[in-house]
């Protein structure tokens, strides 16, 4: 009776979760990773040669070494990390609010009989709308500051997480329900002990989609109009035809996306150690 939602699915540190691999398997993975790195190097090399030889205009694809130089240059520019912080903050705060909010809304929709059925058409209608298109209005309402983009991030991430969470909470296992009912459990207990854990794989699928959307939302919000942030820097660099800087900023955004994805899949592995459907690394 004293469990918090967090220990619903306490991980098993002592348990050897990874299946015993054949000795050849590790070697195979190593070879494949090597091949991946090789492919990346090859692409960069082609871009470098193509750009340096003038075969491709460096307004389209600059030499990777120029992009690297622009990257190092940016990192030392005053105020750059403030821009990074602005984008990251909007992204993270918007994402967290959306995740918590959509979870609470989903819980209410599920626990209040009939509510889900009534609201589902509306939710789907909103979900179908390209929410990014609301960005100009939101910016108009809330201004070029931090608030506007945070709200946009929240809006674009809220619905995919909500819809996945609802789908997860609809998963039913007849025997598990009968088991809980045979013990006379309340609907809150049923929710805590069975429905929520069963929904977690779906919630995490929603979170992963949401994480990607959060990044898109933040950048688009900054495109539409923002005092600072990486999206604003891209607009500025482009207007100055500083193509290497644009690519360098794209690289920064990619790194942010990878970090966010890594965090969600790390959390997923810890919480869903029992699930066969969890995402790979």
């Amino acid at each position: 009776m004293s469990t918090s939602p967090a220990d619903l699915a306490t991980p098993a540190p002592s348990t050897p979760r990874t299946s015993p691999r054949r000795p050849g398997a590790a070697m195979h993975t190593l070879r494949m990773r090597g091949a991946t790195v090789g492919l990346i190097v090859l692409i960069l090399l082609i871009a470098e040669v193509g750009s340096r030889s003038g075969f491709i205009s460096d307004l389209i694809i600059p030499a990777p070494t120029d992009v690297w130089a622009a990257l190092l240059d940016q990192w030392q520019t005053e105020g750059f990390w403030g821009d990074v912080g602005s984008t990251v903050t909007a992204m993270v705060v918007g994402f967290v609010f959306a995740a918590v909010g959509s979870f609470l809304v989903a819980a209410v929709l599920i626990l209040v009989r009939g509510l889900e059925e009534i609201t589902m058409p509306i939710i789907i209608a909103i979900e179908t709308m390209p929410k990014i298109a609301i960005a100009p209005i939101i910016i108009l309402w809330l201004g070029f500051g931090q608030l506007g983009k945070t709200v946009i991030v929240g809006l674009v991430t809220f619905f995919p997480i909500l819809i996945n969470t609802l789908q997860g909470l609809r998963v039913t296992n007849r025997d598990e329900y009968d088991l809980l009912r045979s013990l006379g459990s309340s609907s809150v207990q049923l929710f805590r002990y069975v429905r929520l854990p069963r929904a977690l794989p779906y919630i995490f699928a929603g979170l992963r989609v949401g994480a990607v959307f959060a990044l898109i939302g933040a950048v688009v919000a900054e495109f539409v109009g923002s005092e600072n942030g990486l999206g604003a820097l891209i607009i500025t660099a482009r207007s100055q035809f500083n193509v290497p800087a644009v690519w360098a900023l794209l690289f920064d955004l990619m790194v942010m996306g990878i970090v966010l994805y890594a965090i969600t899949s790390w959390a997923e592995r810890r919480l869903l150690f029992w699930s066969k459907e969890q995402a790979g690394t």
Binding site: A12, S182, L183, Q189, V194, W274
Partner: protein, 300 residues
């Protein structure tokens, strides 16, 4: 069909002592003329059970045997109050209703352990739901796990256990809150024959220890005879109870019992009753030999 089954000669079953404890027993569960009709989505109703009547007395181990689809699971769930009935009456301990949730234990065909909890946490689930003392329940869970022959796996997760081990844990869970009665719905149906025999033996050990009142659903006649004080035979759907056979072999009953003459006679008799309702020419009961291979009942 009733006539056919009534005409079967019943072997003598009064020689080797009495069931479990003898003595007068009071009524635990009474099922009276219960019917269940499922209304299909296409407007076609299907009758799962029709006019089922039987009773279970205190401390008695009663099996419901019947072919697939005869409604035995439906009846079991109705007795546990997990499924509404269409007509008739289920009276648990004079309450006029099915058994009250939280007062009985339940074992399903699948172990139904929650994969995100350790074995021990799964076994104490009833205590968690019912709000019992957790420290005491954990101690009891450990004792029960030992009783069902599961030691050293308290902190393992269900996914790491074999099907038989999982079902043992699920049996321990059903007993945790000291239930007044245990309902078992084909608990060993998904296990291989060897594991199944082991589980049947284990169940008898547990019964010697705890003397539970049990309603046990199975489609294995051998299993039913081996475990029960009484076997109720159900006909093919819409299911009815066509016979009520007391089994009075002395306990403990070992695997050797299945070679016993009277055991085989009983088995043959029950098969005849069941197969008469199945309309399968290959199972012509007049030429059926009890020493032959154990026929599966799902031939319907």
């Amino acid at each position: 069909m009733t006539n056919a089954s009534r005409s079967v000669e019943r072997p003598m079953t009064d020689a080797e002592g009495s069931p479990q404890d003898g003595g007068p027993r009071s009524m635990r569960l009474r099922v009276e003329d219960v019917s269940k009709v499922y209304s299909g989505a296409d407007g076609v109703d299907s009758v799962a059970a029709k006019g089922v009547s039987f009773d279970v007395r205190d401390g008695e181990f009663v099996s419901l045997v019947g072919p697939s689809g005869c409604g035995k699971t439906t009846i079991l769930k109705a007795c546990a109050g997990l499924m509404p009935i269409t007509s008739g009456r289920i009276d648990y301990e004079g309450t006029g209703r099915p058994a009250k949730a939280g007062t009985y234990g339940m074992v399903f065909q699948t172990p139904t352990l929650l994969p995100w909890w350790t074995v021990l946490e799964n076994v104490v689930l009833p205590a968690r739901v019912l709000g019992l003392d957790m420290a005491r329940s954990r101690r009891r869970a450990a004792e029960l796990l030992e009783l069902v022959g599961l030691t050293g796996v308290d902190d393992r997760y269900p996914g790491e256990l074999s099907g038989g081990m999982q079902q043992r844990a699920s049996l321990a869970r059903a007993l945790l809150h000291e239930p007044d009665m245990v309902f078992m719905d084909e608990p060993f149906g998904a296990l291989d024959a060897i594991t199944r025999d082991t589980m049947n033996d284990l169940l008898q050990t547990v019964q010697r220890e705890l003397r539970q009142t049990v309603l046990f659903v199975t489609h294995s006649i051998q299993e039913a005879i081996w475990l029960s004080d009484r076997v109720l035979v159900m006909s093919r759907g819409p299911g009815r109870v066509i016979d009520d056979v007391p089994i009075d072999f002395a306990r403990p009953r070992g695997i050797a019992l299945s070679a016993d003459e009277r055991f085989r006679e009983l088995e043959l008799m029950l098969k005849q009753e069941l197969y008469t309702s199945l309309d399968a020419p290959g199972l012509d009961t007049t030429s059926l030999d009890a020493t032959g291979p154990d026929q599966e009942l799902e031939r319907s």
